[in-house]
């Protein structure tokens, strides 16, 4: 009889353990049920296109009639033309200027170091190269963007020009082509 009671005690312990385990397991779905929610998702995307534009206006600079050896500005009082730049690339960009070659006339030429550019002002947040600078056939840095210039804001860089032809320059009409370059590389 004693043995039988002992066996029942073991059964009791085992059954209680199983019962507790089952009870705990049964609580799990009940807790999940209590939340009563389900979630799913999809994805949204857009490609914002790149904008990198440069426009120059006006495209013609006229010094009129000058006297050789004398410093001559176009005489507009403020600026002669402006380069309008827009970039949304989020990176620094550079505005550079160059000339195709010397100002050529029918009988003579005016060397490029006689033709100068200067930045009158800018609407941008970047930095300008100050003072009067001689043109060159290689691209010369004139403006470096910063801040909002790089995230789509329109930037006007306003130029004025001067010419001091050598005193022995022959009479005649002279011209050259000025080139403006907007680039994200400072070395190009």
């Amino acid at each position: 009889m004693i043995k039988e009671v002992m066996i029942d005690q073991k059964r009791l312990a085992l059954t209680v353990a199983i019962g507790v385990a089952l009870f705990c397991i049964s609580l799990t779905p009940a807790l999940v049920y209590a939340q009563n929610e389900a979630e799913d998702e999809t994805s949204a995307s857009v490609i914002v296109a790149s904008i990198f534009t440069l426009e120059v206006s006006p495209t013609y600079i006229d010094f009129g009639s000058i006297t050789p050896g004398e410093w001559c500005e176009t005489g507009t009082g403020s600026y002669d033309n402006e380069a309008t730049c827009v970039s949304n690339n989020g990176r620094t960009w550079y505005l550079k200027v160059s000339a195709q070659g010397p100002m050529l006339g029918a009988q003579d030429e005016i060397p490029l170091d006689s033709l100068k550019w200067s930045i009158y002002n800018t609407t941008g947040a970047g930095s300008v190269v100050g003072g009067w600078n001689s043109f060159s056939t290689s691209q010369t840095l004139s403006y470096t963007s910063a801040g909002d210039d790089d995230i789509g804001n329109e930037v006007d860089v306003r130029f004025k020009y001067a010419l001091q032809a050598p005193s022995d320059t022959k009479s005649g009409a002279y011209d050259t082509t000025i080139k403006y370059t907007m680039t994200q590389s400072i070395t190009e």
């Binding site: 779905p29 009940a30 999940v32 049920y33 949204a44 995307s45 857009v46 904008i51 690339n89 789509g152």
Partner: protein
Amino acid sequence: MKIARDRSGLLKNFTALIAITFLFCLCSNICAAATISVSRDDLGFGNMRGPSEPVELELAKYGSYHNEITCTGPSGTTWYLKIWLPHPLSSGGYEIPNSNFKWRVTQVSGDSSDVGTYNEASYTEFSNQEVIAYTSGANGNSGNTVTIRFKYYLFVPDGQVTGFYDTPVRYKVTDQN
């Protein structure tokens, strides 16, 4: 001997009680759990804000809607479909503000009398907080499946930095408003 028999009977009853409790809870869970399924239509707006691309776009691939959310709420109670973004459309360190990205419920399945509540008239700006897009009616409260159709709108502001912007769009069925 008599004591041992009584204990044995008690144990059997206890075991039976636990087993019934387990089966009941499991069954109630299977019967009443909320479910949700989003159709496999990504919200791809493509190229925008370029010289020949739009600055604003409505996304409605199927005419009146773009994707649909199939939901079953917890039976016997009002439930809600919520929508939100974990973060704005972003690319690197740049973001398109949530105020430019909007959603709108255009259709809900079921009879008009018990279809539930939603704002069909206008777009709502996305938020990083959960926002209720739909509140169930009698049809959904009875445990029936409800399909909710959405369309979307995006405006890319002037001066937005170029790049691929993306974000998850999350939907949740819940009985908590």
